[in-house]
C-alpha cells in the first residue's frame, strides 16, 4: 500500500518539475482557444485554420521573434473555455490569446481576462453582445462583430424585399443567439413584422420534433439561428417532417461548415436570405486572395473558408500587425502593443475594420442569398454590403443601452 503512494508521489514530483514553463527571449507565445469538441467541433477546426493562416502569412516571425502557438480545446461550455485559457496562460506562458468561439465562452473569457492583466486576449468568433458592450475588460479586444452586427440589414431585407410579415424563430438558448435575434428583430418589428413564437432550444439538441410540430401554420417564414451539428439536425428533421416554410437564416446556419456538409437536408436552404461578415461570392480582391490562400494551405479544408476561419484569421492578423508596428515590444504590461492594437485600421477579407472605445469592431456586413452553383455547390451570393456597422447599430450609445440586456424576451415585438 505504501509503495503505491511512493510511486504516485514520485510521478507527481517529476511532473511538477517538468511543469515549469520555459521562457525564451526571442519567441512570442500565442495561445488559441476553439471548440474542438461538442456541437461546434467543425467550426472550431476552422477557427484554428484561421489562426494558422495568419501566422503563416507572417512567415512565423514578427520583428525577428518567432511566433509559437499552443492550442486549447473547449466544447462551447464556458467552464471548458476557462480551463483551456488557464492552461494556455498559466502553464504554457501565452502572452497573447486568440479565442474563444462561442458566445457564453466569450463572456467567461472576458471575466478571466480581468484576472490576467499582463496578457492580451483577442476574441476568436464569440459574438455575445455584453462581452464588450457593458462592463468591458481593458485587455479584451474584439476584432469581430457581435451577433447583432452579423445580421445588420437582414430585418429590413426580410420585411421589405422578401415580404415576410410574420416569422417564427428557432434559435439556441444562450447569449449569442439572443444577440443575433435582437439584431434581426429590432428593425424587423420596427417595420411592422410580427414574431408570434420564439423557440429557444438547448445547445446540442438532437431531437427537434416537438419544436417542428409547434411551429405555427400561419407564419410566412422561419428564422433559424442554429450552428454546427444543431443546424444540420434541425434541417434534416424539418425536411423529413415535410416542412415547407421558407427559411431566413442567421449567419451561422448558412455558414460553409453547413453548406458543404453531406446529405440532402441543406437543399432547402437554396434561396434563403441571410446576413453575415462573409459572402462566398464576394469579388473583393482581399476576399478572393484569402480564399485562394486558404485553399492552398488546407487542401482538405472546406471548399470556401467559413466565417470562423475568417474571424480567427482577422483577430490573429490584427495581433501580428500591431506586434510588427511596436517591433515586438510587449514590455510594461503590453502597453505599447495594446495602444497600437486599439488604433489599428486593418484591411481584412471583410473590408476595412477598426475598433471603437470599448475595443469592439466596426465592420462591413454582407447581405446575401443562398444559391446553387453549376457544380452543385451551395454558396452565399452577395446582394449588397451594409458599410461600417458599429455595435450600437447606428444608434447613439445611450439610446442603444436603453434597450436593455438582450435575452429570451427582449426585444418584445408587441
Amino acid at each position: 500500500m505504501k509503495t503505491a503512494y511512493q510511486n504516485g508521489t514520485a510521478l507527481a514530483l517529476v511532473l511538477g518539475l517538468a511543469a515549469l514553463p520555459a521562457f525564451a527571449q526571442d519567441t512570442i507565445q500565442f495561445g488559441a482557444i476553439a471548440t474542438l469538441e461538442g456541437p461546434f467541433a467543425v467550426l472550431g477546426q476552422e477557427g484554428i485554420r484561421g489562426v494558422e493562416m495568419a501566422i503563416a502569412q507572417f512567415g512565423g516571425t514578427v520583428a525577428g521573434k518567432e511566433i509559437t502557438l499552443e492550442v486549447g480545446s473547449s466544447n462551447a461550455q464556458p467552464d471548458t473555455a476557462i480551463a483551456a485559457a488557464r492552461k494556455l496562460v498559466e502553464q504554457d506562458g501565452a502572452a497573447i490569446v486568440v479565442g474563444p468561439l462561442s458566445g457564453s465562452e466569450g463572456l467567461a473569457i472576458r471575466d478571466y481576462a480581468r484576472t490576467q492583466p499582463g496578457v492580451t486576449f483577442l476574441n476568436g468568433a464569440s459574438a455575445a453582445q455584453d462581452t464588450t458592450l457593458r462592463n468591458p475588460a481593458e485587455n479584451f479586444f474584439r476584432w469581430n462583430p457581435d451577433g447583432a452586427q452579423w445580421v445588420a440589414g437582414l430585418g429590413e431585407l426580410t420585411y421589405n424585399e422578401m415580404g415576410y410579415e410574420s416569422v417564427a424563430i428557432v434559435a439556441e438558448d444562450y447569449s449569442f443567439p439572443y444577440t443575433l435575434v435582437f439584431g434581426f428583430m429590432q428593425p424587423y418589428c420596427e417595420l411592422g413584422g410580427r414574431v408570434p413564437e420564439r423557440f429557444w432550444v438547448p445547445l446540442g439538441t438532437k431531437d427537434y420534433s416537438t419544436v417542428i410540430a409547434s411551429i405555427p401554420q400561419d407564419v410566412d417564414a422561419i428564422f433559424v439561428t442554429l450552428g454546427g451539428s444543431d443546424a444540420v439536425n434541425f434541417l434534416s428533421q424539418y425536411q423529413q417532417a415535410g416542412g415547407d416554410k421558407p427559411l431566413v437564416a442567421g449567419s451561422i446556419t448558412v455558414d460553409q461548415s453547413i453548406l458543404s456538409s453531406r446529405g440532402r437536408a441543406k437543399e432547402q436552404l437554396i434561396g434563403t436570405p441571410t446576413a453575415s461578415p462573409v459572402a462566398d461570392t464576394n469579388t473583393d480582391a482581399a476576399w478572393t486572395s484569402f480564399v485562394s490562400a486558404y485553399q492552398e494551405q488546407f487542401p482538405d479544408g472546406l471548399p470556401i473558408p467559413s466565417l470562423f476561419a475568417q474571424e480567427y484569421y482577422i483577430s490573429t492578423l490584427a495581433a501580428l500587425t500591431a506586434l510588427e508596428e511596436v517591433d515586438g515590444d510587449l514590455s510594461d504590461d503590453q502597453a505599447a502593443f495594446r495602444a497600437a492594437l486599439s488604433a489599428l485600421e486593418l484591411q481584412t477579407p471583410a473590408g476595412m475594420r477598426s475598433l471603437d472605445e470599448n475595443r469592439q469592431v466596426v465592420t462591413d456586413i454582407f447581405l446575401s442569398q443562398i444559391i446553387e452553383t453549376d457544380e452543385g455547390q451551395l454558396v452565399s451570393q452577395l446582394i449588397s454590403t451594409v458599410p461600417q456597422v458599429n455595435q450600437t447599430l447606428g444608434f447613439d450609445r445611450e439610446t442603444f443601452l436603453a434597450y436593455g440586456e438582450v435575452g429570451r424576451d427582449n426585444p418584445s415585438c408587441d
Binding site: 500500500m1 505504501k2 509503495t3 503505491a4 503512494y5 511512493q6 510511486n7 504516485g8 508521489t9 507527481a12 514530483l13 511532473l15 511538477g16 518539475l17 511543469a19 515549469l20 514553463p21 474542438l36 469538441e37 467541433a41 477546426q45 484554428i48 499552443e70 492550442v71 486549447g72 480545446s73 466544447n75 461550455q77 464556458p78 467552464d79 471548458t80 476557462i82 480551463a83 488557464r86 492552461k87 498559466e90 502553464q91 457564453s104 463572456l107 467567461a108 471575466d111 438558448d173 444562450y174 447569449s175 438547448p202 445547445l203 429570451r408
Partner: protein, 324 residues
C-alpha cells in the same frame, strides 16, 4: 511520506500545477470518493454523485454572492453550510429512492436523476438561470487570506481531501463499514445475521452526499462559476471513469484516478493532434481497465509485488463473491 510530498509540492510546482492539477484532482477525487464509498464498499453504483455535488454548488451560488441578480448575497460560509445541508438531504433522498433497487436498476435510476437535474438546471431560469448559470462566485477570505489564491486553495483542497480520505478509511474499519461491506458481499446473509440492509445503504448514501457536496462547493470556488455544463452527462460519467480507473477497493483509488484523469485531460492535447486528443484519453482509460481489474491501484499492486500477486483482503472477498 504522502503528507511530506504534499507539503513539498508547493515549493517546486508552479501556481498552475498547484491549482489546475493538484487542487482540481483533490476536488474531483472527493466526488469520486463518494462513489468509491457507495460502489466499493456498498456495491451501489450511483451515477448521480456529480448531480449531488452540482446541487450543492448551485445552492452556494444562489444563496451566496455572484455577479447574477438571482443570487441572494448572504455570507459565503452560511451559503456553504446550507450547500452541505442540501447535499446531505439530496444524498438521503436518493438513498430513499434507490435503496430498494439493485445493480443495473440503481444505475438506471441514478442516471435518470442526474439527467433530470441537468435539464432542470438547463431550462429553469427563475432559480438556476438556465444555460448561463452563475458566474463571478468568489471564495471567502479568512483572516485576510483569499482562499482562492493558489497556495491557500491548494492547502484547503488537499487538506479536505486528506480528511475525506482518512474519514472514509476509518469508516471502512468501523463496524458500520464492515456491515456495509457485508451487505455488498451477501445481502441475504447480512440480513439473516440481523443487519438492516436498507438502513445501512441509506446512511452510506447520506455520507456520500456529504462528500460529494464538499467537492461541489470546492468545485464552484475553483471555477468561480457553475452552469448546467458542469453537471451534464459528460461530467457524471467522468466521475465514474475516475473511480473505475483509480480502483474501487480503497479510498486512495479515487484520488489516484482523479490525478491521472486531470493530467490526461490537461496535457493530452499537447501530445497528439488537437482534433484527436480525446481518442488518446479514451485509449489510455481502455488500457487501464483492460489490464487491471482494480484500476490503477491494481496495476500498482502488481508492479510492486509481481511474484506474489498479493491482493488486499477486500479484493479477495470480491473475487470469492464472483467465483461462488
Amino acid at each position: 511520506m504522502l503528507v511530506l510530498a504534499l507539503v513539498l509540492i508547493p515549493t517546486i510546482a508552479n501556481d498552475f500545477f498547484l491549482v489546475q492539477i493538484f487542487a482540481q484532482a483533490a476536488i474531483l477525487g472527493l466526488i469520486a470518493l463518494s462513489l468509491m464509498l457507495l460502489g466499493g464498499w456498498g456495491g451501489i453504483v450511483s451515477l448521480s454523485q456529480m448531480s449531488v455535488a452540482g446541487l450543492a454548488g448551485y445552492t452556494l451560488a444562489i444563496l451566496g454572492q455572484s455577479s447574477m441578480s438571482q443570487s441572494l448575497g448572504s455570507n459565503s460560509w452560511l451559503a456553504a453550510a446550507a450547500a452541505l445541508a442540501v447535499a446531505l438531504i439530496v444524498g438521503f433522498g436518493i438513498g430513499l429512492l434507490v435503496g430498494r433497487t439493485r445493480g443495473i436498476y440503481t444505475i438506471m435510476i441514478t442516471l435518470a436523476i442526474g439527467v433530470a437535474v441537468f435539464y432542470l438546471a438547463n431550462q429553469n431560469y427563475a432559480i438556476f438561470n438556465g444555460f448561463t448559470g452563475y458566474s463571478g462566485i468568489a471564495a471567502p477570505h479568512v483572516l485576510g487570506v483569499d482562499l482562492r489564491a493558489p497556495l491557500p486553495f491548494y492547502v484547503l483542497c488537499v487538506s479536505l481531501a486528506l480528511m475525506g480520505w482518512a474519514g472514509v478509511a476509518a469508516l471502512g474499519r468501523s463496524s458500520f463499514g464492515k456491515a456495509l461491506i457485508a451487505t455488498r458481499d451477501c445481502e441475504r446473509r447480512a440480513a439473516a445475521i440481523g443487519f438492516h440492509v436498507g438502513r445501512h445503504r441509506l446512511v452510506a448514501h447520506t455520507i456520500a452526499g456529504l462528500l460529494a457536496g464538499l467537492g461541489g462547493i470546492l468545485l464552484v470556488w475553483f471555477n468561480g462559476r457553475i452552469s448546467p455544463g458542469t453537471i451534464g452527462v459528460g461530467p457524471m460519467i467522468d466521475i465514474l471513469i475516475i473511480a473505475v480507473i483509480g480502483g474501487m477497493s480503497r479510498p486512495s483509488g479515487a484520488f489516484l484516478g482523479a490525478f491521472v484523469f486531470v493530467l490526461l485531460r490537461t496535457f493530452a492535447i499537447d501530445l497528439v493532434d488537437p482534433e484527436r486528443f480525446n481518442t488518446l484519453i479514451g485509449l489510455v482509460f481502455l488500457v487501464i481497465v483492460l489490464t487491471s481489474r482494480d484500476g490503477l491501484l491494481g496495476l500498482l499492486g502488481k508492479l510492486s509485488k509481481p511474484e506474489r500477486r498479493k491482493m488486499s483482503p477486500r479484493l479477495k472477498t470480491l473475487e470469492r463473491e464472483e467465483t461462488s
